[in-house]
């Protein structure tokens, strides 16, 4: 009896602790939403929501900056394009690594693993030089082309395609499928969960990337959201509500995508760590 009571008390305390911690973690997000809804006169009076809601911060965001809508569309365009290109290259190369033997496969795999361990900042100076020479500085191609391949993505797809039985591919060949048809009609449909995970990871990576776009993009009409916000905090550093509105809008697309793909996401995130 006594021990049961002690266990119950311990469990209740643990549950309460976790709920309290979760509340602390969520508090900045609630504060962020609240800050976007407070008018100038209310912002110092109320820590969270004020009794009257104001949309002024959102109006300011689009009117004062006059390019924020461009920045939003730029980010959406760039992240979507990069995801599609990366998805195509990564799944195709992952398929080749998983299901074929070809000359140089071993050395190529080692080379790919080696580049995974090298921090990306190492190559930024020579890559900038190369892109300058190709005339791709201050253009989206300077972001899309070097970002078109994801070694991480290739290994992700290789892992998941390895689990597809060879008999399935053989059967398709006997039915007269070409190798590309096998990729398109068998490998891709079967890999749907991995595609979901990869799309989200890749989208978040491009959406949030800051340093390389900061180096490559100079024209403010081309800026993506993180760069636009970094400019805004310099110019409007007293306009807290407006900056928070910009931050909230910048985060929403990722949240929506996450809610759609969250199941696949966790599976994909941990696949490499647990299996490898």
């Amino acid at each position: 009896m006594n021990r049961n009571a002690a266990t119950t008390a311990g469990r209740l305390a643990t549950q309460a602790l976790l709920i309290a911690l979760a509340a602390i973690v969520l508090m900045p997000l609630v504060w962020l939403i609240a800050a976007t809804t407070k008018g100038k006169n209310d912002q110092f009076h109320y820590t969270f929501f004020a009794p009257t809601l104001s949309g002024q911060n959102y109006v300011d965001l689009f009117h004062k900056t006059d390019v924020f809508q461009h920045n939003l569309l730029n980010s959406i365009f760039l992240a979507s394009t990069t995801v599609i290109v990366q998805l195509f290259f990564s799944s195709l190369a992952g398929f080749a690594l998983a299901k074929y033997n070809f000359k140089g496969k071993g050395p190529l795999t080692v080379l790919m693993l080696a580049t995974l361990m090298i921090p990306g900042q190492l190559t930024m100076a020579p890559l900038f030089e190369l892109l300058h020479w190709l005339g791709l500085v201050d253009s989206y191609l300077g972001l899309i082309i070097p970002g078109a391949v994801s070694v991480f993505g290739i290994f992700l797809f290789r892992q998941s395609i390895l689990t597809i039985p060879d008999e399935l591919l053989q059967a398709a060949r006997i039915d007269g499928c070409s190798e590309f048809q096998i990729y398109r009609d068998i490998i891709m449909p079967v890999s749907r969960p991995m595609i979901g995970a990869f799309c989200l990871i890749s989208f978040m990576g491009t959406w949030n990337s800051f340093l390389w776009p900061q180096i490559i993009l100079h024209n403010r009409r081309l800026f993506t959201l993180p760069i636009a916000l970094s400019q805004m905090i310099g110019v409007y550093n007293q306009e807290y509500g407006m900056l928070m509105a910009g931050t909230l809008i910048s985060v929403l697309p990722v949240v929506i995508l996450f809610l759609v793909l969250q199941k696949e996401f966790v599976a994909g995130l941990t696949a490499g760590a647990v299996k490898g």
Binding site: V25, L122, E179, F210, S230, A273
Partner: protein, 327 residues
């Protein structure tokens, strides 16, 4: 790269090759040819971009680090003086020190918290586990740049949430006008706090997955043998989650070494008071792309890569992660 994108041109390329190998134009011959060349075609688009934009710059950065440059055009060979300059430069030393301090807290504060949280959350009797897990993970949906903008304002004296929440709890220690980002001594704690908020839940996901894979019968067996909770942790949990824990340790360290957006944007596009928020990557950006010395930037890049390599190998050694494979 226009052609292989759509899929159709690739098939037509296969068709062309089939026509070129005409001698026996039956299906079986075309079929075996396209089977043989398929992996090369599949890997080719990736390989081209990987070699040109991934591998070539790595080699080139080694060469470039031996030159003094002014923008992409003017190069003067200077041998090792970029590296010599770095060793003597006090700003670089500050950057390295700050990066190491941040990495230390990432490893010794962030990861134990993530593991602890995962162990509590993996108890089957906890209610609303999915919601709690989601709550802890949610900050990670914001990229580092956006977290930085948010925290830059959360730390604003009088106005921000941090002082308003901490002041009532610790009125003496945290006055309402505590200037987190203007006081050189408070900048690093402010960065670490923001990064805890962002990354504890992220690493927790890995530990949760690892804990789920531990065989529950081992705990049962340990209990039968009279092991208490701490002994169960050492004898069952630690060996069970070790591969994942080492993975998390190494990736968290590598990630910490590359710290940039969080301090840079939190500190309003600066390195903060007395360079208290200067990191190695920030130093690289300033020298390479603000001042325009791409040679020095390459030398900084190599210093960063070597630092990451040495620390990762040390961690793998100490944790004995490669013991099984070496034997």
């Amino acid at each position: 790269m226009p052609s292989p994108m759509a899929g159709r041109p690739l098939q037509s390329a296969q068709a062309k090759i089939a026509i070129m190998n005409k001698p026996a134009p039956e299906k079986s011959n075309w079929f075996s040819v396209q089977h043989k060349i398929a992996p090369y075609l599949f890997i080719a688009p990736f390989l081209f971009i990987f070699l040109v934009f991934g591998c070539y710059p790595i080699v080139q950065s080694l060469r470039l680090s031996l030159y003094a440059t002014n923008g992409p055009k003017s190069h003067v060979f200077v041998g090792l003086s970029n590296y010599r300059f770095l060793i003597g430069d006090s700003d670089f030393r500050t950057a390295v020190w700050n990066t190491l301090v941040y990495t230390f807290w990432s490893v010794f504060l962030q990861l134990p918290l993530a593991l602890g949280l995962a162990m509590l959350l993996s108890q089957k009797w906890i209610k609303a586990r999915g919601l709690l897990r989601m709550a802890f993970f949610s900050p990670n949906l914001m990229g580092q740049a956006f977290v930085a903008v948010l925290f830059g304002i959360l730390y604003v004296p009088q106005y921000g949430l941090v002082n308003r929440a901490l002041h009532p709890l610790l009125p003496k220690l945290v006055p309402l006008d505590t200037k987190w980002l203007q006081d050189a001594n408070l900048v690093m704690p402010a960065i670490v706090l923001a990064s805890l908020w962002m990354y504890v839940g992220f690493n927790m996901i890995y530990f949760l997955a690892a804990l789920q894979a531990v065989d529950q019968e081992l705990y049962e067996a340990a209990r039968v043998d009279g092991a208490n909770a701490w002994h169960q942790f050492l004898a069952v949990t630690v060996p069970g989650i070790k591969p994942v824990a080492v993975f998390v340790l190494v990736t968290a360290t590598i990630g910490s070494f590359q710290l940039y957006e969080l301090p840079y944007l939190m500190l309003n596009n600066t390195a903060g008071p007395k360079n208290a928020g200067l990191t190695i990557v920030m130093y690289l950006y300033q020298n390479g792309f603000v001042t325009g010395d791409l040679g020095l930037a390459s030398a900084i890049g190599w210093s960063l890569a070597l630092g990451v390599l040495v620390i990762s190998l040390f961690q793998l050694r100490v944790t004995g992660a490669y013991k099984g494979e070496a034997a």
